[in-house]
Amino acid sequence: MKRRRTGLKTVLAAVAALSLLTTACGGGNSASGVPDDGGPMPVSIMSMYFTPEPPGADNVVVQEIEKRTNTDLNITWVSPNSYGDKVNVTLASGDIPDLMLVNDPFSAQVRTMVQQGAFWDLTPYLDDYPNLKKFPEESWINTKQADGKNYGIPRVRPVEGGPFLFLRKDWLDNLKLEVPKTTDELYEVFRAFTKDDPDGNGQDDTIGFTGLVNQDNMGGYGAIVSAFTQTTGDWKEVDGKLVNVNLLPEMREALEWINKAYTEGLISEDLAVLKESQTKDQLNAGRAGAAVNTVEAAWEPTEAQLKTNPDADFLPLVSLNGWNNRDGGFFGMFVIPKTVSEEKMKKLLELMDYGASEEGGTLASYGLEGVHYTEENGIKMATEKAKTDIVASQALGQIFMSYDKYMRAYRSGMPNEIFERNKKIIDERAESSVPDKAIGLYSETGVSAGPELSKDIQDIKTKIILGKQPLSAWDAYVEKLKANPDLQKITEELNEAYKQRQSAS
């Protein structure tokens, strides 16, 4: 342990030394951090990227944005795999970039630092920025901290079109099956996908569903569980009170369903040790018939399959048992530390406002027209140059994005009819989607004891799915859970916060 802790310190020391160096280099600046001479304003940003490689400092689009906004961007790109760790370490170092994406606005660390006044309260300033104002109301409400104020700019996401089931439509057609609407029908579809040779190659080489469970949540199986519990997230409103879903009998039904599917071999055999990339491989290779992801992400395996199979088609489902999830409208938020002057903070909001404009958003996600993309009937086709220059919504588009309700219907290179179909699915989902009632609600015990409790609960769920323990073990566990003082306290605190929020609105 001693060795690892010093390792951390070394990193921190290096970071501190580096930042000293960079501040020393930024001569000609006034104390406010905004150059007096009208030169470009230096801005440090930390964010994540989903492209194979992060964009470099000499990235054409970064340079173009710098030119148009008169800034000098210094972006630290962090892999999403370790982003949460990096946030905690950076916050602990006290050397926080001007704009930092915190992936979980409600983590213990962020909450405490908000209370201590480490970040700018942006609430009074936001009215001056028309493009940021265009973000949906829910994105702003759901990122409010315990005191009801906004301490960050949400990394905006549409509320509809979030991670949900998608499955092979062409396999359904081959097997003459309807699109499933209930979990019972879904089970039949998974069974047929596994046993009835849906790809017609005469070999037993397919499974119904590929997905993994994480160590603290149900991962890809969350959507199926939620179809049973009929709620989004871990809390359900029952008679006006929030109840933890694990205590509900529906959770038992869900576990029974998944365990049965596992025993029959309809879902990933290695679900406890699988990696995200392996599930994608299975979909791309046509070995799995369904998975969970956002609406537009279903295009990814379709595109891969089309190379060998012209009929391949992954269809995102609208709902299951009449349920689908309504997202919070954000995926983390950008905070500005109090060490930044008010003048510079306003300039930073201006920069983010530019990013949220149509022009800025398009530039960040798609690059320059004619160079990085061509446009036909409103569909942008990325060129090869876009790939080599690393211009994508998965990189710079994670920082600067203009809000669009159909953001999750679209991927560059997608045929128009898929785009239109996705738009329709998103509209249909809006009719049945259920929001997470507990989002942003504050419970002190939840922050300190919650993560370990979630892990403990997930451990036993994983064992039950794998058949290592019988369902009766779950019943016994639930009885124990009901008496768990931490859970009781979390429930109490959340309900109090919930009541407060309801009476406020």
């Binding site: 342990m1 760790d85 916050l91 994480n214 290695d270 406890a272 892990k455 451990d459």
Partner: protein, 326 residues
Amino acid sequence: MASRSGTARGSTLETAYKKNPAAQRRRSVWNGIKRDRYLYLLALPGIVFFLLFKYVPMWGILISFQNYSPYQGMWASQWVGLEHYIRFFSNPDFLILFRNTMAINMLSLIFFFPLPILLSVMMNELRGTKFKKTIQSIVYLPHFLSWVIIVGITFLLLSTGEGIINQLLAAAGLNKIDFLTNPNYFWGLLTVQSIWKDAGWGTVLFLAAMASIDPQLNEAAKIDGAGRFRQIWHITLPGIRSVVIILLILRIGHIMDVGFEQVFLMMNGAVSEVADVFDTYVYRLGIKQGQLSFSTAVGVFKSVVGLILVIGANKLAKKFGEDGVY
């Protein structure tokens, strides 16, 4: 005249030193430093390294006695005394973590530790230099693979769905074995992985120690009619005994450490009750959940236990007439 007064002053100083043994000692230390100044200069970077990166950060353990908040800094954070330690020891997780850490390390001590000795004795008996070098290179090689790769290979071999071994089992009509998700196999799996990775590398020190054994001893033994096994038993093994003892003491000092990466990568929901060790716990609570003070307390506990064990083992070694670490 000038020179005489100089000598006179010198002699007075000398008598002063004679009267003051502390000052004398100081002078001899200073003389020693002056004499070996180049050696000390050579050691300087190392000394600075240890001060800067090992001793200065040790102040960090103070945060285990407070509710440390990075924004407020170490001086403004609230002091809570032993609260975090009490919380840790009264936590039911503590016993599980302790059991897992000890079990994994004891297995490693029993099965892993003797292997490099055995291996190096065997290699020492090889006669062809080229053959010996080749074997050495081959057994060192796995050490240079990172745990990520080794765990990746393990998954490729042992996973139930696509693992090669399970596919072979299935093809032979046998039942698949859940190597990766069965708590009964987990500790064994870790030990086997460690042996595969580091048993070869562990031979380096032993081989070096064997090289320093006087070959005359072997020759004399041979003349007296001792066979190979006699020579190993009476010459080679006693020759490396002190190295073995030192390594054993150091190893015991690390009894609370389990290779973090290995366990972290191998862990999954089905085995976490046997897989969770102090290091993964500290990572989860400290880095992931930001409970810096609490996880520091856990770290301090580990270090203190390690220190006590090293001192104990060293004392024990000295009692049996060995050199020990210091």
